[in-house]
């Protein structure tokens, strides 16, 4: 620990004695997140309780050159919340108030520490809808969702977090309050800083308030499961549905490995011999739902689905989604370490990406279960390993690098929803080129001259 005692006591004056943690145990407890990466122990953990105290904490850190890593629930999979040595972790979970839920103008103003599922539930209770639903929404916070531009199962039709951010208020590296955006649907006042801050992973500022767009919930929905004897026909179906100009709210893919893992674990009655499954849901106006549902059924049949199971009621719909919900748990129980990737391709390239993943699993002799959001090109090839097995782990790292190359060669991207953090910072150049990184570094240096805001993330040091 290298923070001076005067800095600690100043932090205590701002956040209260309980708002600053410096014991070895507490510091260790904030040295990691959900990414499979080495922990780094911070010098202190600070929990501000008000907007003003966020500004004061940052200002102190800037003056003393202390790195600040903001943390909501620590569920990100890219190491974005792994702190810096001698730095502090700034926890947002005491800032978890919903400031205003405006039903008339359909927006909500929140503090960054509000848990996503809590927000979605409160919004739903007012007859409105906040669609982004990251897999970790039961614990993840809105601040983290915006900082990582989190996605979810509904991305295909409803987009991701960035599509709902109307305005932001944040503190910059010097501790000054900055606002951008508005409660209005239209707003072109100056730079789109809300856009810049989204997916910035805590490297450009610290959120103190976020305004999110709400929409009316769909009136009806219909879910179905299509069973395939070949991965190719399943993935071609995805492309065909999109080509037919139908936009399901959810279009999920599951390969044979994952199907069997789910069956072993949850015994939900999936066909073990199926090579792939598609889980599809359409929503909207009842008439549209009925029509889209029928057209999708026809497309599935035409492209060779062995069977199509349409849910007739809520219980059956729940059954369709039970399989998908169980996927991660089922895979997680097979091996100690799970590397859940999210390299993403244009939707038309899904068949090519799935086949590339299958080839890599054979090449490196690594079990890979693939499931995920086929509708938006965001698959989750999940590598099963044990990080204690050095040789195997090395193969996993090489395999992941090849996965990234495969996605990029198909016109895709390194990350669809998990972010870059420190896990993928080294691969950034392959996607955006050195000059883009230089541009980002120049911008960062200008607004964070002492490089205190989550240094090392996204663009490296």
């Amino acid at each position: 620990m290298s923070l001076s005692s005067s800095l600690i006591s100043e932090l205590q004056q701002i956040c209260g004695e309980n708002g600053v943690m410096t014991s070895e145990v507490d510091r260790q407890n904030y040295s990691y997140d959900a990414a499979v990466l080495e922990p780094t122990i911070p010098a202190a953990v600070v929990r501000p309780n008000s907007k003003e105290s966020i500004g004061k904490v940052i200002s102190l850190c800037n003056d003393s050159g202390t790195p600040v890593t903001v943390r909501g629930a620590g569920t990100n999979l890219s190491g974005g919340t792994i702190p810096n040595k001698n730095g502090i972790v700034l926890l947002t979970n005491r800032m978890n108030r919903i400031i205003e839920l405006n039903e008339t103008d359909m927006y909500v103003r929140v503090e960054p520490g509000v848990v996503t599922a809590d927000l979605a539930a409160q919004v739903a209770a007012k007859g409105l809808f906040y669609p982004p639903d990251p897999g970790s929404q039961a614990v993840s916070t809105i601040g983290g969702n915006v900082a990582e531009n989190a996605g979810g199962l509904r991305g295909f039709k409803y987009g991701v977090t960035k599509d709902y951010v109307m305005a932001v208020e944040f503190f910059d590296a010097l501790g000054r309050k900055v606002t951008s955006g508005s409660k209005t649907v239209k707003c072109v006042t100056g730079y789109n800083l809300a856009g810049l801050m989204t997916a910035s992973e805590g490297t450009l500022g610290v959120f103190s308030e976020i305004t999110l767009k709400l929409i009316p919930p769909p009136a009806a929905s219909k879910a179905m499961m299509a069973v395939y004897d070949s991965v190719e026909t399943a993935t071609q179906t995805v492309a065909a549905i999109i080509a037919d100009r139908i936009v399901p709210c959810t279009l999920e893919f599951m390969d044979n490995f994952t199907i069997n893992a789910v069956e072993d674990f949850a015994n939900v009655g999936l066909p073990r011999d199926a090579k792939a499954l598609l889980l599809i849901e359409v929503d909207g106006h009842p008439a549209q739902v009925a029509e889209d549902g029928e057209r999708i059924e026809q497309i599935c049949k035409k492209l060779g689905a062995r069977a199509i199971q349409v849910a007739r009621n809520d219980a059956e719909k729940d059954k369709v989604w039970e399989a998908r919900r169980a996927a991660l748990s089922a895979l997680a129980r097979l091996k100690p370490t799970l590397v859940l990737e999210d390299a993403t391709v244009p939707r038309s390239q899904i068949p090519a990406m799935v086949s590339a993943i299958e080839k890599l699993a054979l090449k490196y002799d690594i079990p890979i279960g693939t499931f995920g959001h086929a509708g938006d090109g965001n698959l989750h090839p999940t590598l099963l390993t044990d990080r204690r097995d050095v040789a195997h782990w090395e193969r996993v790292e090489n395999c992941v690098a090849d996965l990234f190359d495969a996605a990029l060669s198909l016109g895709g991207t390194l990350s669809g929803e998990h972010g870059i953090g420190i896990a993928k910072a080294g691969f950034m150049k392959n996607e955006v080129g050195q000059s883009s990184i230089d541009f980002c570094r120049t911008m960062k240096a200008a607004i964070d001259p002492n490089n205190i805001l989550n240094p090392g993330k996204i663009i490296g040091q």
């Binding site: 070895e24 145990v25 260790q28 904030y30 959900a34 620590g74 129980r333």
Partner: protein, 438 residues
């Protein structure tokens, strides 16, 4: 560091289980303690990380880690919701034993566990004496609950509202029983548990009344000891081993079809912890393994085995007097709902009493905050969690809250008593027994 090396070695036993945690953090969504504190060290992921660091000798403050690892209700909610299926309770029990062996037991705990709990006859004598003098220095807290509080002892017990010790404990009225099977053709071993014995003997009596009504034979050996979970949860494995050996020898004296308790915690301990934590290749391990499938909570036994079903008859024809016209809600004890997945049977048992109407409360299966010794060590936190339970009980509008764990009853009684709420606290077996004529 060489000392730390010893601890690291003893944690190796659970190292493989620790690795199963993928740090996804989903345990944060369901942990009652984390909900109150928001501290990573108070949730399973954080505790497991600390244990990993101790095993790797990357953390020097073993004492600090122990404090964190003990700050847990052991409610098992995280384990029930863990995507990776990490055996969290087993990890924590084994880790607490290893840490206690390394750091030692506090003098107070040593006195309680080794001096008293370990010796059932000494414990009974002490409780007898305490029962006789307990009115000195305590005063009535809430007449509805029959609770008392103590200014004199507030330094030790805080402002708790507690039920006084029973004037006559259950084992004084029924030192032992050996009744042959009646018309059911079944004989059960009966383990009343400490809280039933010393504080709520009426629960034990209700169980016996029900057994008699259904023609169930009862074997209840004399001199039963505690199931051992309080000692084990504090890392005192030696006392646990002694208590298990003592009980295992008593219950081996007679054959029985089922082993029944009216306490969710005792049931889960006997069914799961006894086989898990008994010494390898020991006679206790063998017996515990034999008994585990036969061990049942009283409501599961009545509903699943004896086919007691919700009442069809109208309230007018009901014998029940105490619950006539009453609305009853149910709190799921963690050890029953989370560990053993028993949720419908206690509700069916309440519904079997035609005189009362069952209503579901919100968040019926969230922990009441008792957590055994958690309540002793973290009373303020325990009470905060309990107050949320109280809100849900009151919001249900029920006149009676029933549960299936005497420890939960203590906690719920305390939080209701603190506010002088007029809601009655009952064990489900009391509600069912009330339908049977004496």
């Amino acid at each position: 560091m060489s000392e730390l090396n010893k601890l690291s070695k003893s944690l190796k036993e659970i190292e493989n289980q620790l690795t199963d945690c993928m740090k996804c953090g989903m345990c944060q969504a369901v942990c009652p303690v984390f909900k109150q504190t928001g501290n990573e060290g108070d949730v399973a992921r954080g505790k497991i990380f600390l244990l990993e660091r101790l095993a790797e000798e990357m953390l020097t403050d073993a004492k600090g880690a122990k404090t964190r690892i003990e700050k847990c209700l052991m409610c098992g909610t995280c384990a029930a919701n863990c995507p990776s299926g990490v055996k969290i309770l087993e990890i924590f029990l084994k880790a607490r034993a290893a840490l206690t062996e390394y750091i030692g037991l506090s003098p107070v705990k040593r006195l309680i566990f080794r001096g008293m709990l370990k010796h059932p006859e000494r414990m009974d004598a002490l409780v007898d004496t305490a029962a006789r003098f307990q009115n000195l220095g305590t005063s009535k807290a809430d007449p509805n609950q029959g609770t008392r509080c103590s200014k004199l002892l507030s330094g030790v017990i805080g402002n708790r509202h507690f039920l006084p010790l029973a004037k006559t404990p259950f084992h004084k009225t029924y030192p032992s029983l050996n009744i042959p099977a009646g018309h059911s053709g079944l004989k059960v071993a009966f383990f009343p548990g400490c809280v039933t014995d010393k504080m709520n003997p009426e629960i034990g009596k209700a169980v016996l009344k029900v057994f008699k009504h259904h023609g169930v034979g009862v074997f209840m050996p004399k001199g039963q000891a505690c199931c051992g979970i309080p000692a084990l949860a504090s890392g005192e494995r030696n006392t646990f081993d002694t208590l298990l050996a003592h009980n295992a020898a008593l219950f081996a004296e007679e054959s029985f079809d089922y082993l029944i308790t009216p306490c969710a915690t005792c049931t889960a301990t006997i069914k799961e912890i006894w086989p898990m934590m008994s010494e390898k290749d020991s006679i206790e391990k063998f017996r515990a393994g034999q008994w585990a499938p036969k061990t049942m909570d009283i409501s599961q036994f009545l509903v699943d085995v004896l086919q007691v079903a919700p009442a069809q008859k109208s309230y007018a024809g009901s014998h029940s007097i105490e619950f006539a016209g009453d609305t009853v809600t149910y709190h799921d004890p963690c050890h029953l709902a989370k560990s053993l997945k028993i949720k419908s049977q206690p509700r069916d048992l309440i519904r079997a009493n035609a005189a009362c109407t069952f209503v579901e409360m919100a968040e019926a299966d969230t922990c009441c905050g008792n957590g055994g010794s958690f309540n002793l060590q973290n009373y303020d936190l325990s009470k905060q969690i309990g107050m949320e339970k109280r809100q849900n009980i009151l919001a249900s509008g029920a006149g009676t809250v029933a549960t299936a764990c005497p420890a939960c009853m203590m906690q719920i009684r305390d939080v209701l008593s603190q506010n002088h709420d007029g809601v009655k606290v009952k064990h489900v077996i009391e509600i069912y027994a009330d339908t049977i004529k004496d």
